[in-house]
Each structure stands twice: as structure tokens, then as C-alpha cells.
């Protein structure tokens, strides 16, 4: 993506975004590290993950993600792929961009159904418990080009690989190995891996590497798609159980905030239904029309679930919905759920949907407020809207677009 307009005006000097330091400069500082190795053709280091591109599908760029300077950075390479850790440590935008800028994406063009040695190595790196040491020969000079995405975590540079050698035995947990070698459909295998205790981040990398599926139809899945696919697969597994649990007994509001993304989540005593709002403020990532109104997006699904892709909101819808289902599953309750997400101007560089997933998970770890009536719960949410204090957005702006908040229930007339 191109840099936001604000950044082009500012160029890191005036801090127009209101931050203390420029997150992009933090990234660009990494450039000098890359420059040191720009003329080298060989690389030796840990591979933390596998990345599968989507351009040119079904022939895509695939290869290991490696860390340029893990030790100097003081970052354990393993942490590079664990957004739940980033959240737990409260890393801010600069730190995350800085850290991920030292990620090098090495790639080779392969068909998604290919069975080459290179790709079976990829599957093993994806499944390994710890980063795996690899030796790479580059085809070209590596180019520093930090990239950002709404779905995927940022990364620093990319380069074409000519040859790769895995120089140690990837440590793959026995149970993972056994699930992957069973003749299971990709979806079943992904569920089994999650049940084993792997977080969705790891499951999606394994899914993307092409390790899963019946032998006859194993194939790679572009990283971007595999993230949302994993959220959806695991959600459906949890939801089928959640929908059997008794409804919550009252109205509950959960809340959390991270990097200028503010979430309030309402649980209502009802069978499972789900509505997700995103209010993008002028100046935030996808709304650069400075000075204009916030843009409110809405997506909804009923008890029977959805068939159509949530195109209005994309990956964020699925990431939040997964975290909600995890929480309900743990409570052994179902509920009608409305998520209110406000995205403020200081979130102007997209960092990936992990941020949504982790912030919603955090909301449920914190305490909640309990209310007797929907009206009281909504008043509380209204007063908690951060933008309300700026006079920009009120509950009414959400209600006007809502399926769930505007629908009366028969029980209201009993």
C-alpha cells in the first residue's frame, strides 16, 4: 500500500500524526541493516514461518520468512510470529513495525499443487515448534520494501531464492505430525491442530504451507486467505457447540482498547446472533478524507450462520467473531453479540487482523459490566464511545444501521 497522505506531508519530521516518534522512520532505520547484506548472495539464519503470496494464483511466490538481525534486536525470533505475545507485552506501533521490518521474505515461484522438495521443506518449517535454521542463496539483490496490509503483519524486505537448504532437523511435535499425516480434510485437520492447543496463528501458517488436506488434494493457500479461512473454520467448530449452550442471563458489556482501536462488546440474552460494527475515523487507515465524517460499516449473521463473505468488513469481521466464540465457549453460554469497534486517526498504518483478534480476546479477559436491560447496557456503551466526547459519533449512528439493535423481540411484549 502507499503511505497515508499525512505521512507524505510530514515525512517523519513534524509528527503530524500526534505520536512521539515516527513509526515509519523506525522501519526505515532497518534499511541500513538490510543495506549491509544487500550485496550478499548467501544467507544463513532462522526461518520463523512460511509466506505464500497470492499474486499470480495458482502460481505464487512462496518461501521461508527469515529474520535479518534477531540477536542484535534482542528479539527472540520465535516471538516474531506470536501476536498474542506482542499484545501481552503491550508493544506499540513503532515497536511492531520496527521488529517486523527485520523480516525478510524469501520467495520462489511455485504452483500451489506442486510437490517439490522445496515445498515439503516449507511444510516442515511451518509445523516446527521453533525457528528452523536455513541456508539460502539469493537469485537477485534483496530490496528493502516494507509492506503493510489489513490482514497480514508488516514485513521488511523480499528477495528471490535460488536454492535453499534446511540445515537442521525441524522440531515438529509428534501430535502435530500425526494429525498432518492422517487422511483428514484440511478443515478437519485445522480443527484438530487448534484442539491440540495451537493458536490460530500457527494453524494458519500450517494451512497455508499446503501441509493439510487429503493426500490427493493438498495445496498451498495464500497467507492472506489462510488467516481468514482459519478464523472461519475454528469459529464454526466452536459455534456449533456454543449454539447448544444456554443463553446468558443478562446484558453484559466488555471493553478493551489497543493502538487506537477501541472495542465494546455487548452480550444479550438470546440465541447466538452476531453483528459487527467498524467506525473508521477520518485519518485512520482506510478513511483518509480528512475532516469528514466517520464511516460506519456493519455486517450481521443470524443463528443459522452466514453463506456470503462479509465483504464490507473482510478479515476483521472474522477475527473478532473468532475471539467472541472462544469467550462464549469458555463461558459455556450463548448470546446475541454486538461488537462496536472504533478506529481512531492514530491507527493510520494497518498492522494486520491479529490486532482485532487480540484486543477482543483481551476484552473478555477483563471484567465486564452487567445490566438488567438492553437500554441500560446501550446507554453505558454510548457513554463509553471514545468518539462521543469529540461529538463525532453516538450510539444512534450505529443503531441506524443495525439489524439487531432495532429489532424488537416477542418477549418484549410478554
Amino acid at each position: 500500500m502507499s503511505m497515508p497522505r499525512l505521512c507524505i506531508v510530514c515525512k517523519g519530521s513534524r509528527l503530524l500524526c500526534g505520536r512521539n516518534t515516527c513509526p515509519l522512520l523506525a522501519a526505515l532505520n532497518k534499511r541500513s541493516e538490510f543495506d549491509k547484506i544487500t550485496n550478499t548472495k548467501d544467507f544463513f539464519g532462522p526461518s520463523t514461518s512460511v509466506f505464500v503470496g497470492r499474486r499470480g494464483y495458482p502460481r505464487v511466490g512462496v518461501g521461508p520468512m527469515t529474520v535479518i538481525e534477531g540477536e542484535e534486536l534482542g528479539v527472540e525470533p520465535g516471538r516474531m510470529e506470536e501476536p498474542s505475545e506482542w499484545f501481552a507485552q503491550g508493544l506499540d506501533m513503532e515497536e511492531i513495525i520496527g521488529m517486523r521490518s527485520s523480516m525478510l521474505r524469501a520467495k520462489k515461484s511455485e504452483n500451489i499443487t506442486s510437490r517439490s522438495k522445496f515445498l515439503s521443506d516449507m511444510s516442515e518449517i511451518a509445523m516446527a515448534e521453533h525457528p528452523t535454521e536455513v541456508e539460502l542463496s539469493f537469485e537477485n539483490k534483496l530490496s528493502f520494501k516494507i509492506s503493510f496490509s489489513d490482514i497480514i503483519q508488516p514485513m521488511g524486505a523480499s528477495v528471490n531464492v535460488e536454492k535453499m537448504k534446511v540445515t537442521e532437523n525441524p522440531k515438529i511435535p509428534k501430535k502435530v505430525e500425526s494429525i498432518v499425516s492422517d487422511e483428514l480434510r484440511a478443515e478437519e485437520a485445522a480443527k484438530a491442530l487448534y484442539d491440540l492447543g495451537l493458536d490460530v496463528y500457527k494453524v494458519s501458517v500450517i494451512l497455508s504451507s499446503g501441509a493439510l488436506g487429503l493426500n490427493s488434494d493438498k495445496k498451498m493457500v495464500p497467507t492472506r486467505w489462510s488467516i481468514t479461512a482459519t478464523d472461519d473454520i475454528i469459529f464454526r467448530r466452536l459455534a456449533s457447540q456454543v449454539k447448544e449452550y444456554p443463553p446468558v442471563d443478562s446484558f453484559y458489556v466488555y471493553e478493551s482498547s489497543y493502538m487506537d482501536n477501541h472495542f465494546q462488546i455487548l452480550l444479550m440474552p438470546s440465541l447466538f446472533e452476531y453483528e459487527n460494527f467498524e467506525a473508521w475515523f477520518p485519518g485512520s487507515v482506510w478513511n483518509d478524507a480528512l475532516g469528514q465524517r466517520p464511516v460506519v460499516l456493519e455486517e450481521y449473521e443470524g443463528f443459522k450462520g452466514r453463506k456470503r463473505y462479509a465483504a464490507e468488513e473482510g478479515g476483521g469481521y472474522y477475527a473478532a467473531r473468532l475471539a467472541v466464540a472462544e469467550a462464549l465457549h469458555k463461558m459455556k453460554r450463548q448470546a446475541g453479540v454486538v461488537v462496536f469497534r472504533e478506529i481512531h486517526p492514530r491507527y493510520f498504518i494497518p498492522l494486520g487482523v491479529w490486532l482485532v483478534r487480540e484486543t477482543v480476546r483481551d476484552a473478555f479477559r477483563k471484567g465486564c459490566e452487567k445490566f438488567e436491560t438492553q437500554k441500560e447496557a446501550l446507554e453505558y456503551i454510548n457513554s463509553g464511545l471514545q468518539s462521543k466526547h469529540e461529538g463525532k459519533l453516538g450510539l444512534k449512528d450505529f443503531e441506524a444501521r443495525s439489524v439487531m439493535l432495532r429489532q424488537k423481540r416477542l418477549v418484549d411484549f410478554c
Binding site: 438470546s270 440465541l271 447466538f272 446472533e273 443470524g302 443463528f303 443459522k304 446475541g336 444512534k396 443503531e399 441506524a400 439489524v403 439493535l405 432495532r406 429489532q407 424488537k408 423481540r409 416477542l410 418477549v411 418484549d412 411484549f413 410478554c414
Partner: protein, 262 residues
Amino acid sequence: MFEAKIDVSVLRECIETITAIVDEGKIKIAEDGLKLRAVDPANVAMISFELQSDVFDEFRFAAKEKEAESGAEDTSESKAETEIGMDFVKLLGILGIGGRKEVELELDEHAQKLFTRMGSLAYTISLLDPSSLRKEPKVPELEFPVQVTIETEEFRRTIRAAEKIGDHIVLGVDGEVFYMEAEGEMDKLRLSLRKEQLIHLTPGTLHSLYSLDYISAMSKGMSHAESITLNLGKDYPLQIEFEVADGKGKVSYLLAPRIESE
């Protein structure tokens, strides 16, 4: 014990009124016929359904004998009934493939199965455990100031047109005119019918807003009825009543309103 014979198309039109609201539910069988009351998962729509036993070509029912309860006072015959959990979507599918005019039904309560036979095709349906199904809903006590009776086809046509426009619809009465109104971002639709164009109308001035998803589903359920009666209020549930199976079946839908946005 329950054994019955009925015209397939009659039974289908009855079951279709139910699947408009719920996929599964508890149906009560008694000497005078079948009864069901069920609410959708979101507690927004409800169906009350009754089918008289004389619509069946054959209808034999005897309640399970209850032991040693003769001391209790309310063992009157009329209260004897059996409750079964039914997957209506499945039943409808089976009725659709029989290719016969008549279906025989036989309940095996112990095995919790319903045998259906259409000609030489026998299909055994496993019943659902009634305790796993949602409780019968509380019925709101409602008083409707206004009543409108309209030809079903007129109503259904308007709903089909409204589906092209938006996701909700206003139903209202203005003096002696009944109207339906849908407004989307671009287009607008209005049907107005004067009293003389309707079968019946109580004059008044009021309207309510409803979700089209629900009304569209109900509209499919009523396709075999010639006319329907709408009971309306201001920002109030909608009740739609109609008859199926030559007047031997009675259906009543309830639908909670939507709050209008300012």
C-alpha cells in the same frame, strides 16, 4: 398410538407454514388433531398452528396409558396428548419425493420413530428428543386496534417487489386506506388499497416497521391460503392469520416490529 392417512399435498402445505418460521419443533397430537407453537431462534417470530383431525382420511389416536394416576382430577380424555419432536425440513423433503397422492403415518413412541409410507415407499424418520428442543414460547398478550383482510396474492406480490428495494417494510392504515411501504437507498415502493379494494378493514391511523427477511419467509408459508388477516398496532407486533387445508388448518404468525430510525 397414532396412525393416520392424509393427502400428501395437504400435509405439505401445512408443513410449509411451519418451516417458514422454524426448522424443527414439538408437535402435540391429540384426539382432535395436531397442534404446534414455536418461536424462531431470535425470538422475533412465532407460529401457532392447529390442524383438525377430520382433515385426515383416517385418524386414530390413543394417549399413552398413564398408570395409577386415576386419583388425580384432571385425567379427562380431552387433555390426553402426545408430544413429538420433529425435523420439519426433513419431513417436507420426504413428502416431496414420494410421487404419491396419499401418505400413511404411524408413530412408534417407544422407538421414537415416525413411519411414513407412500405407496410402496416406506421411510422411517427418527424423532428429535423433545427435551432437546426449545421450550414452547410464552405468548404475548396483545390487543390489536386495527384489522385488515387482504387477498394473499396481492400481499405476496408486494412483498416480492419490496425485496428488491430494501430490508424492511412499513405496514399501516391511514383512515380507510391500508398501505405497505418500502424504501431503499435509491428506490421506493408503496401499495395503497382503499377499504372497498379489501375484504375487510377497520379504519384507524397507525403503522409499524418489520424486517422483510421474516415477512418474506412468512409470505412463502401462506402461499396456499386465499386470503389473510393482518392484525396491526403502532410500533407493535404483527399478527397474520389464515387457513390452510380447506379451512381445517389454522395458522397464526406473530412478528415483533423493528424500531424506526430517526
